[in-house]
Symmetry: C2
Subunit: 557 residues, 2 copies
């Protein structure tokens, strides 16, 4: 759904507190030399559920260190392909002592050196364990880490997905100080709070280059986000190259060759995500937000009429009175079902402007025939229910996700449908939808496109997704949430820069325990996560005020 009708929580807050108060969350008073917030070293983002670390440490050296796989993993693709990636994360190219005026380099003094760490074992354990190949809703993601020296260094999980999470945490435990690379004596038991932790990108308002989508997926893995929600098409452009309907992108994209995703491109993104334990859920939003569809598939949209009954040349939402529309959608969703392996599909359903329908005499006639004269939200329901029916009858069974309007309109939808809450007043909607027995996802407070000056991540960080007066059963229906970055002012240049590290606030909220909510405690870890992302080559923004990161800027800029 678009952002234009959505008045963000953070903007409203800015109207009620002074900018000064808002901006100075971490500013010392009086200002002192050096950063506002001192970075931690070797802390994990998002924060693990249970972690004990001592200040005693091992050194760790790229020339001698190795991952030792259990025999059950030797032919396990997900873990094998992950090792080179995580080796680079453990030993980034540029890793020096950081320094800032008279403030750093002091807390290392009392640390006890425990010797070198030359390996960590990586093991799939437990009776449920097997080498899975595709991530899915509800996959096991828990893992344990022990860094104890000698042969007591191990990452374990019941699933390869948990091992990926454990490898990421391990890579974040490693830091640089007086030794080039150090890791503290540590034990971790970790698991996610919610199973669906998503990130939505919009490749229609601006086309997003493959390189930046892949960077995004890497960053999602870094932050233990496991769903890439791809809002592929919208009013402005249709960059998805359909094999069955090539005209959709040939005529509906901004540019048919340089601003489209070929079948190979789409496959590449799905594969890149799969290897990182990230599900790819496509969204093809109907009946609104579809202006660009008409260019390659004339007739799918409703013709709008002037007051005196003539076609006015503009088009409205899809035309549900046109039965061939649903034949077309059946073919298209059949293709999508084969292209996208995930068992969930996002069907949109938001922000339908009915004024064009109201102007159209054929629609009026059709509605009379359906016996819903004048009830345009029921026409919307008719459309959505037809689309849900199409998806329900595909060879590959898919669970639908819909924007909250579909629930609000009282559509007849099956109980397994996920209701995606995005509007203001989300507490009410979460309450109503879960009370009606639906599972929900929350996005309202996590619109990353909506920038504000200063430390705006704190507003997101302080949201408690279960703060909606639900019963225990109702709360249990919250499956997670998604951070969304809509594309009106976001293109390939600022997709990563604008979303991160702000999106980390979302990531920690949906992975870590609800008690992890103090922004002052989070800020030093978030500063480390910012520098870590820069160090790995991602162009992310400053997040907690004046600071610096010891990174190889030449490779980033």
């Amino acid at each position: 759904m678009s952002t234009s009708r959505f008045l963000s929580v953070s903007l409203l807050l800015l109207g009620t507190v002074s900018a000064e108060e808002k901006l100075s969350n971490f500013a010392p008073a009086p200002y002192r030399a050096g950063p506002w917030v001192l970075s931690t070293r070797g802390e994990i983002w998002p924060k693990p559920q249970i972690q004990q670390s001592s200040s005693s440490f091992f050194s760790i050296n790229p020339d001698t260190f190795q991952f030792k796989l259990g025999p059950e993993l030797i032919e396990c693709e997900i873990v094998q392909t992950a090792l080179p990636r995580f080796f680079e994360r453990v030993f980034p190219k540029f890793s020096t002592n950081s320094r800032t005026p008279k403030q750093e380099l002091t807390n290392a003094i009392d640390q006890e050196y425990l010797g070198g760490l030359d390996h960590v074992r990586v093991e799939l354990v437990g009776t449920r364990a097997n080498c899975e190949t595709h991530p899915y809703f509800g996959m096991i993601e828990s893992y344990n880490i022990t860094i104890g020296g000698g042969d007591k260094n191990v990452i374990t999980s019941e699933s390869v997905w948990g091992l990926l999470k454990g490898l990421e945490s391990f890579s974040q435990l490693v830091y640089s100080s007086s030794f080039p690379s150090q890791i503290n004596e540590t034990t971790i038991q970790d698991y996610p709070r919610f199973p669906h932790r998503g990130f939505m990108v919009d490749s229609s308002r601006h086309f997003l280059q493959m390189k930046m989508l892949k960077q995004t997926l890497d960053i999602l893995e870094m932050n233990k986000i496991n769903v890439f929600h791809w809002h592929l098409v919208d009013d402005q452009s249709f960059p998805y190259q359909s094999m069955k309907f090539p005209n959709l992108s040939l005529l509906g994209a901004y540019q048919p060759y340089t601003h489209t995703y070929s079948p190979t491109d789409v496959e590449e993104i799905i594969e890149f995500a799969r290897l990182r334990g990230i599900r790819v859920i496509p969204e093809f939003d109907t009946p609104g937000h579809t202006q660009s569809w008409e260019l390659g598939q004339p007739g799918v949209l409703t013709q709008c009429y002037t007051d005196d009954g003539h076609p006015d040349g503009s088009k409205g939402p899809m035309d549900p009175s046109n039965e061939s529309l649903f034949d077309f959608l059946t073919d298209l969703f059949q293709e999508l079902s084969a292209v996208f392996p995930d068992n969930y599909v996002h069907l949109g359903g938001d922000e339908v402007d009915t004024s064009c329908w109201e102007s159209n005499p054929h629609i009026t006639e059709f509605m009379a025939h359906l016996n819903i004269t004048g009830e345009y939200r029921k026409l919307e329901s008719y459309h959505v229910e037809r689309v849900l029916g199409i998806v329900d009858h595909l060879a590959k069974k898919s669970t639908p996700i819909v924007w909250e309007e579909v629930f609000d309109n009282g559509d007849n939808i099956s109980k397994d449908t996920l209701v995606h809450v995005w509007k203001d007043g989300w507490q009410d909607t979460m309450k109503k939808a879960t009370k009606a027995g639906f599972r929900v996802l929350l996005s309202s407070p996590f619109y990353l496109n909506r920038i504000a000056y200063g430390t705006d991540w704190v507003d997101m960080y302080k949201v408690e997704p279960l703060d909606f007066d639900g019963s225990a059963n109702e709360e249990a229906l919250v499956q997670g949430g998604e951070a969304c970055i809509w594309g009106e002012w976001v293109d390939s240049v600022n997709l990563v820069t604008r979303a991160w590290p702000r999106g980390c606030a979302f990531a920690e909220r949906f992975w870590s325990d609800s008690s992890v909510k103090d922004e002052a405690k989070a800020a030093p870890r978030l500063q480390e996560q910012e520098c870590r992302m820069l160090q790995r080559g991602y162009r992310v923004n400053p997040i907690v005020g004046p600071n610096f990161c010891p990174v190889d800027w030449d490779s980033i800029l």
Copy 2:
């Protein structure tokens, strides 16, 4: 000055108009396929004072085109070194037909093709003309362009600075459509509305890499901005390597080798700017915003005391009771005067917190001696006047620029001082300062660091700098303005991305005629300027909503 006490105009506005209204400046209703705003082709930003163009056009080809210099320019460094730069701008590496659904490629149909354009003459004309080497306040920047075919293609100016402006405009006249490169029949007479059009960067809150400073200078040239105001040091860090006082950066920078500007670096920036007709004005702000100075030059700051009269370990503003402070500042400003060739220097003087002075018994004693007991603003004046005196007695005479507090405090400052207005309520300050006979610069509405969601450039674009109830004489004292991008949330990653194309609104306001103020007319040109910046390799943000640019993304991302 810092931004923390400054409540931005745009944020205030966001509190009073709905986000929807705010964001939908250019959104068509109902949404249609394609961009919200269609880019112009071959239009100039900032808009020239007088321009006639027909739709008849010439083709222009990199294999045959040449700049033909008048004999007076053969040994003229500024123009000679500019030619390769502008050749690349006339013929960017990636230049294809842009395309968007059923909207582009139509307005070229009725254009008349006038043949090939194989040269443009570049000539220094008039009795005042000479080949100057260093840009300065009040330099001539006017120029004329005729593109008439045959031998009637010429860029003329009375100065090399005007020729640079003319070459930039010429490069922007060239566009791509049905021919690879086209230029319309055109005549231009152009000159700036204000002589001082500046851009301020802050390299203290975050260190800014040389590469991004140079990109910034290139972009300034592109937008006809002629002053690079370098806020080099502040509370957080001291990245300027002083030859006389090396400890200032060795101990006061975030990192003494990777996060500092060596003498060679500074020289490189000044030279890079000079060749582009851009003055470099350094700022060394005192007596506040100086925490980082104390690390390398102990004793320059005031020791703060507890209520019961003991030093509390923290430091306040500079300590004007310490006479050796002024010896040190004399030496430092002597060095700066030799390093920075411009005849203006920015001395800061903003946001002095007097509470530490109030706590210090030596300061109390010193003020009694000065007969200003309890009048802390007069102590501030004492400091500023001493610094002004130092600068006034340097071998190279420099004109001071000061932040508005220095005027507000009623300091005894010479009439040639430029008062830099940055606070809210700028109309009052502009009126008062010009009424008192001072020349002024305006920055209040142009704080580029203060982002807001949506089309926030329009707020800047609609500001009229002379809208302050001044007489003609008072208005004549407005010398221009500066866009400022403070560094609390701006580092090398987002300096360019955040400032541009938003800063273009400022650029047009201070170059073009006051009648050029309709944002709906500006938006299509601004969209072209965005794509042009991308095409030249600068990572700038989307500016007017959904759109696309035909650029070589691989070379940008």
